[in-house]
């Protein structure tokens, strides 16, 4: 209910409500974006674009379900778009793009902990479609039906991606455990 009230206040032009939504979901969405993209800068950009778009669309926005799930889906979609765009430009996608460390680097606006780095690294072994479904299901706590609706694919497709992704993760995590 609190989210519904915040969204309604946003529609009424209340900037404080927008700020509260940002503060409430910022970390959650950044973790999601970085876990999906395995790229700090891209993750920041995805969250930035989603919030700007959210603010822009307030006059048309109607909250029919969970705001958390809605924002998570937006971030997943935007992350995908940015990654495709970057692939088209043939930019570097390997591990060197990841420049996080638990200790702060000069100029870095965000510090990510070791678990997020590990998570992102593991998920990067999967195709994006599988990564996305796994993240929305496990982290976003979304049901398969809701994920299917938001990605505009069938429920069976979503279930399939999840199953294949989990199977692949099993072997990745076993390999890591053996190391």
């Amino acid at each position: 209910m609190q989210d519904r009230l915040l969204v309604l206040r946003c529609r009424q032009g209340n900037k404080e409500a927008l700020r509260r939504i940002y503060e409430k979901y910022r970390d959650y969405l950044l973790i999601l974006a970085v876990a999906l993209s395995h790229d700090v800068n891209l993750g920041e950009d995805a969250v930035h674009d989603v919030f700007v778009s959210f603010a822009e669309r307030q006059d048309k926005f109607e909250l029919t379900g969970s705001l958390r799930a809605y924002l998570a889906t937006c971030v997943a979609n935007r992350t995908r778009d940015l990654m495709r765009r970057r692939q088209n430009k043939d930019l570097c996608l390997d591990q060197d793009c990841w420049a996080v460390s638990p200790s702060p680097e000069p100029g870095r606006r965000i510090i990510y902990n070791e678990q997020l780095q590990q998570l992102s690294s593991v998920l990067s072994e999967l195709p994006y479609e599988q990564r996305e479904v796994i993240a929305l299901r496990i982290y976003g706590q979304m049901r398969f039906r809701a994920i299917a609706r938001s990605l505009d694919v069938s429920v069976n497709t979503v279930r399939g991606r999840y199953r294949y992704g989990i199977n692949k993760l099993r072997s990745i995590l076993n390999i890591e455990a053996d190391k």
């Binding site: 609190q2 009424q12 032009g13 910022r26 970390d27 700007v52 603010a55 870095r108 997020l116 989990i166």
Partner: protein, 394 residues
């Protein structure tokens, strides 16, 4: 560990520390975009009753006929429904735009009614006078509050910095969030010597009726009901908008000679099934009879509990007063769990007369959100998850 669990664990333990520069970058861009969007034009808001009326074929025909006749006769009747809409929109606008307001709230729970006096002044000052002389004052801009108990000459100061929304949004604040259009326009009637029109709004789980003086457009009364507490009704009345209110009545300074009292530590974690089990166990253990309560409907539960207490059939909480308060507050979490049940949870309670320890009798069951199966609690307070609907007790 299963891969899904491992991934979940990594997500849970993931953490980010964000520089203010990123926050500034994102919020600046978002606020810029925000200011550009066309805010809902309040003056254009109309009631949706016209749409409701036009759904009926009979009224479509009748309405068309009336319009034709009106055009022929040169009458202007189109203002009818819109005029009501403007009246209601005007009331909501007044609620939203008022700089100060005083009003009385009556909270009716079962047979009991509690009357509360309220005063508000922008920005963010509220004063509430509860029965028994307890006064609550909050300043949302300073994010501070004080409660003053004149009977015991005590006060408690609180920091509202991280207070959840339910602590900073009261009945009036909820009214401010309602849309400027009513779901239903009710029949006119007389109320307190005035002819009033009712406007019913159902939004965000609140069902509220606004009674507006037809002559003056003044808000006479607001009646609200919450679906999760069907026996609780809130009535707002005696509204006075934009009256002079002295800042002194909102002062957070404790009165001279009063002693400070620590606020009770409130468990703010999400209520869950275990809280209900704790409540049930407490009742069956501490209330004479050794059986579960006859009802978990909040008003009925409170009424029965109160009667049992008067008859000396309830064991007292041990320890000092603050500890007793903590124990009581823990128990209310069980009732909160029940109050959270929605129709789709298909909640059932059948514990009346069942003894604690009766492992064969189900005392309550419900369907958790999004689940196809039920959770059932038995008389020995064990519970079984994932019970199919066809396997539920009758």
């Amino acid at each position: 560990m299963r891969p899904a669990k491992k991934i979940k664990k990594l997500f849970v333990k993931s953490n980010v520390t964000v520089d203010s520069e990123l926050d500034d970058r994102i919020m600046t861009a978002a606020l810029l975009a925000f200011e550009k969007h066309e805010k809902t034009d309040f003056a254009k808001l109309q009631p949706n009753i016209w749409r409701t009326i036009m759904k009926s074929r009979i009224t479509q025909f009748a309405t068309a006929l009336v319009i034709i006749i009106a055009v022929i006769l040169g009458l202007n009747i189109i203002g009818g429904p819109n005029k009501s809409g403007r009246v209601f929109a005007s009331v909501i606008q007044q609620i939203r735009n008022s700089r100060t307001v005083t009003f009385t709230t009556e909270v009716q729970m079962g047979q009991q009614t509690v009357q509360i006096e309220n005063a508000r002044k922008e920005p963010g000052l509220t004063r509430t006078v509860m029965p028994g002389g307890l006064i609550l004052i909050s300043d949302l801009t300073q994010k501070k509050a004080i409660s003053i108990n004149h009977q015991e000459k005590q006060y408690t100061e609180r920091n509202l910095e991280n207070a959840p929304a339910d602590q900073t949004q009261d009945f009036f604040e909820h009214m401010r969030t309602l849309p400027g259009k009513a779901n239903e326009v009710l029949t006119k009637r007389e109320m307190d010597g005035r002819m009033v029109q009712g406007f019913r709004v159902i939004e965000h789980g609140i069902d509220a009726t606004f009674w507006v003086d037809i002559q003056t457009g003044d808000l006479v009364r607001v009646e609200g009901q919450f679906p999760n507490a069907p026996n609780t009704r809130i009535v707002g009345k005696d509204f006075k908008f934009d009256v002079e209110l002295d800042d002194a009545i909102f002062s957070l300074t404790p009165p001279d000679g009063y002693t400070s009292k620590e606020p009770p530590k409130i468990d703010r974690s999400e209520v869950n099934c275990q809280d209900l089990i704790n409540l049930l166990r407490w009742w069956a253990t501490n209330v004479e009879g050794g059986v579960f309560p006859p009802s978990l409907e909040p008003a009925e539960f409170a009424k029965v509990g109160s009667e049992m207490k008067k008859e000396g059939k309830v064991s007292e909480f041990g320890g000092p007063k603050d500890e007793k308060m903590q124990q009581m507050m823990k128990l209310t979490r069980g009732i909160q769990f029940v109050m959270m049940m929605k129709p789709e949870n298909d909640w059932h309670y059948a514990g009346d007369g069942v003894e604690l320890g009766d492992a064969d009798t189900a005392i309550c069951w419900y369907r958790p959100q999004g689940s196809q199966t039920y959770r059932v609690i038995y008389g020995d307070l064990s519970f079984v998850k994932d019970v199919a609907p066809e396997d539920l007790p009758e």
